[in-house]
């Protein structure tokens, strides 16, 4: 199936590093997507909070742009875009709803609602089309000895009947990828707990306390870093980590990566594609930890090899 790529608005702003690392990782894994000409905003939370038809129409305009690429489906890294596009297609299966959406557009969408493109997350495509084994095979610099808390947020697998991917209560897609990268995944209980979403602009107290709880729990389970697949979650956990610290009166200093950044690291992809410098919480201590653990292992292996050689030599000597 030919797939098109929908970057989402935040990929051009707050989540540049996600956009760039996603493209780099996909290229490295041999995944190719068609570019969508002149895509527009999916409407995000504000549109459907105001009106589902408006939200549907903003998504539907993109369906038409996607159709121009000849793709049958579309992938997006952003869970918010994913949810909007998926829900719009889902709701448009109802003819009355589709008619109301079509009425807002310059020209109606394709007649057969089933022919509207299905949306998938990049995560789903990586997991289902590439798989942990192939990812493991691509790793050149394993993330050894570090503990990762995988945070999925609330949008990736809910509602389960629309999303049709992963377990809604205990998703494991990123866990499998992180394990393939060589990291240890902590059994993190708040994987799908909400971070506060877009409430951060108007109500920082809400995002602060919700994100704070997530970060504090991740810390208590010994996580060295948090990974996420969502720009909004990332903003709340990383960019707003200071706000959460103030609200909770705790220091976290917990680096928060996009999962594609860690994949890129483990694959040895160039720094300029991963854009680790864009992270608000300094990832350097984490990177040093990885480096130390790797060095320790290599040293230990070298030591073992030397000992074995010595033993063999001494046996040889004894024999002769």
């Amino acid at each position: 199936m030919k797939l098109a790529y929908y970057p989402g608005c935040s990929g051009h702003g707050t989540s540049k590093e996600y956009e760039s690392s996603t493209r780099a990782v996909c290229r490295a894994l041999g995944l190719e997507f068609a570019e969508i000409e002149d895509w527009s905003c999916c409407g995000s939370t504000p549109a459907h909070a105001m009106d589902t038809v408006l939200s549907g129409a903003l998504a539907a305009r993109n369906f038409k742009q996607i159709a121009l690429t000849g793709a049958e489906g579309v992938v997006t890294p952003c869970p918010s875009c994913l949810a909007n596009l998926k829900l719009a297609r889902h709701r448009m299966q109802d003819a009355a709803f589709k008619a109301r959406v079509d009425a807002l557009l310059d020209s109606p969408t394709v007649e057969n609602a089933e022919a509207l493109p299905e949306t998938y997350s990049v995560l789903q495509i990586i997991l289902e089309q590439i798989g942990p084994e192939a990812i493991r095979a691509r790793v050149t610099r394993p993330l050894e000895g570090v503990k990762i808390a995988t945070y999925y947020g609330c949008l990736m697998s809910r509602p389960a009947d629309v999303m049709q991917f992963d377990d809604p209560e205990n998703p494991t897609a990123m866990d499998k990828i992180m394990e393939a990268l060589g990291a240890e995944v902590v059994d993190f209980p708040l994987k799908t707990e909400c971070c506060g979403a877009a409430m951060g602009v108007a109500r920082q107290d809400v995002t602060g306390s919700l994100s704070g709880r997530i970060l504090a729990t991740a810390r208590s389970f010994g996580a060295d870093a948090v990974v996420t697949a969502c720009p909004l979650c990332h903003m709340n956990l990383d960019l707003r980590q200071g706000q959460a610290e103030r609200q909770m009166r705790l220091k976290f200093r917990l680096p928060v990566f996009y999962y594609t950044q860690l994949m890129g690291l483990a694959f040895g992809l160039p720094d300029e594609t991963l854009k680790l410098d864009k992270l608000a919480v300094d990832p350097a201590p984490f990177l040093q930890l990885v480096a130390r653990r790797r060095k320790a292992r290599i040293d230990a292996a070298a030591e073992a090899a030397r000992a074995a050689m010595e033993k063999a030599e001494s046996e040889e000597g004894a024999a002769s």
């Binding site: 205990n170 059994d187 209980p189 729990t217």
Partner: protein
Amino acid sequence: MKIGVFVCHCGSNIEATVDTAEVARIALTYPDVAHAEDSMYTCSEPGQDNIVNAIKKYGLDGVVVASCSPRMHEQTFRRTVERAGLNRYMFEMANIREHVSWIGKDREANTNKAAELVRLAVEKLRRDAPLHSKQFDVTKRVLVIGGGVAGIQAALDCADGGIEVVMVERESTIGGKMAKLDKTFPTVDCSSCVLSPKMVDVAQHPKIKLYAYSEVESISGFVGNFTVTIRKKTAYVDWDKCTGCGTCTEKCPARHSPDPFNECVGETTAINIPFPQAIPKKAVIDARYCRKLTTGKCGVCARVCPTGAINYEMKDEIVTEQVGAVVAATGYDLMDWTIMGEYGGGRFPDVITSLQYERMLSANGPTAGHIKRPSDGREPGVVAFIQCVGSRDRSIDRPYCSGFCCMYTAKQAILTRDHMPESRSFVFYMDIRAPGKMYDEFTRRAVEEYGVQYVRGRVSAIQPIRRADGSLGYILRAADTLLGEPVEVEADMVVLAVGIEGAHGAGELAEKLRISYDKYGFFMERHVKLAPVETNTAGVYLAGVCQGAKDIPASVAQGSAAAAKVLSLFSRDKLENDPQIAQVDIKRCVGCGKCVDVCPYGAIKKIDFRGQPKAEVVETVCQGCGVCNATCPQGAIQVSHFTDNQILAEVNALCQF
């Protein structure tokens, strides 16, 4: 033919929305109807007497009663017309209550519909002929499937009544779920103290033959004459020699086998006796964990057995028994709660089921009655109980109430305080269902005397936390709906009152018994109110939770009820068949054999009749389903009282161009 029609008011149940007098008036215009009247309660004694009198007065030779469902009162009125000297099958019913008066309020439409249903009954009755049952012998032995408390009660009552009992239990001991319980509500008395003597009675009763560690393989035949084959599963121990001394279990080196009797709290040996009071007290080898059977190297038990009972070469054995009735008492299992990801789906070590907790509370359990957290063996300070886990939950297709969880949760909360006076307990519930004798008082005691904190609200999620000392805690995210606020509890241990379903394999057994069952594995009784012990298959009865959630006293009562049904069935020397079965018109039959091929019962034989092939129905085997009737191209085989002509007459009465 002279037909009498009686249209019942059923008090106001029918009369409120059907003009019964008008129905009777219309009925008088139907062919062969000689008398028609409406009556207040046709099924009452005066109502029945009225029918008897009318039959005599008007010389009726058939009766139609328009009232409730024939599933309710067909038998009643058949006896009534028999009292008046008619053949009991010269009777038809029109269901104008369940199918008319109770499902709509339009009096005109209802009256018209009722009159038409009477017309159908009249047309059918006009083509009825007197039928006579055939008599056949009864094997006065009963099969009881399942050795839980309901099955034990049924078996003992039957045996005390002088009937031979064959009991089949698939585990290696009888006792069922009750044997796993520590105490019972509302008296908080020791469960095994009550049950053990009854188990011993089963073992010692001269009329009871117990097949433990066995399963029903197949059942054929019909009421009074069932043939049962039973698979005796191999225990790798010759039970005739095993004395239950337990030496093998002490010496067995495979000490890390899961312990199903203890709900996998703790471990046992590959060869084991489930618990000290087991009946029969015999050892069984779990082949999956036995070193000899998996690797070929070991044989310790064979060496230490003082009677030489161990036999690694043993195979399953099939035995056959003849019985006249069957009591199904197969009980329940917990539903698979691990589908509930929000409670960890089994990933959190200190989140356990109530049955596991019960084993923990029990003095003969794996922790010898001490409450310990599986994660670290510590005594929990805060224990939270969550009710309705997998009950009353449509989102996972478990809409029903599991009946007894409210009560045992209260009991377990009380016992928790007894065991650990310093502990605190929280019970999350939606409603408290305690309608038994002394039950509500019992739940109140938990709150008032034992200080158990009840919180009305479902728990949304259990979220573990890692405490500063490295131990696990569990945050329960809930709401107190009475307060109207979200609440949280940090517990050390969580006990889930997991909902129940029919025992695993109940569906397969129901297929063998040819009884109905619902999608949750519960067997269907013949009538929810009037025949709660019988099934749709004559001679098969139900006892205990296999029919639906019930507590111990109700299970025992139903066990006794099933026994009473068996004893009453066996009080006759001969049984009669239902004569509403297939009959072959030998003149019309061309012997093509299609009926023989389609009969689900093998009840039709091909015979040679004066050199011509013909079909013949075995009357005691035929159940009257009519598949043959619908198959025979020339209509030579007809189900009595559901003949082609009767159904055609009904169709023609309804559809006339």
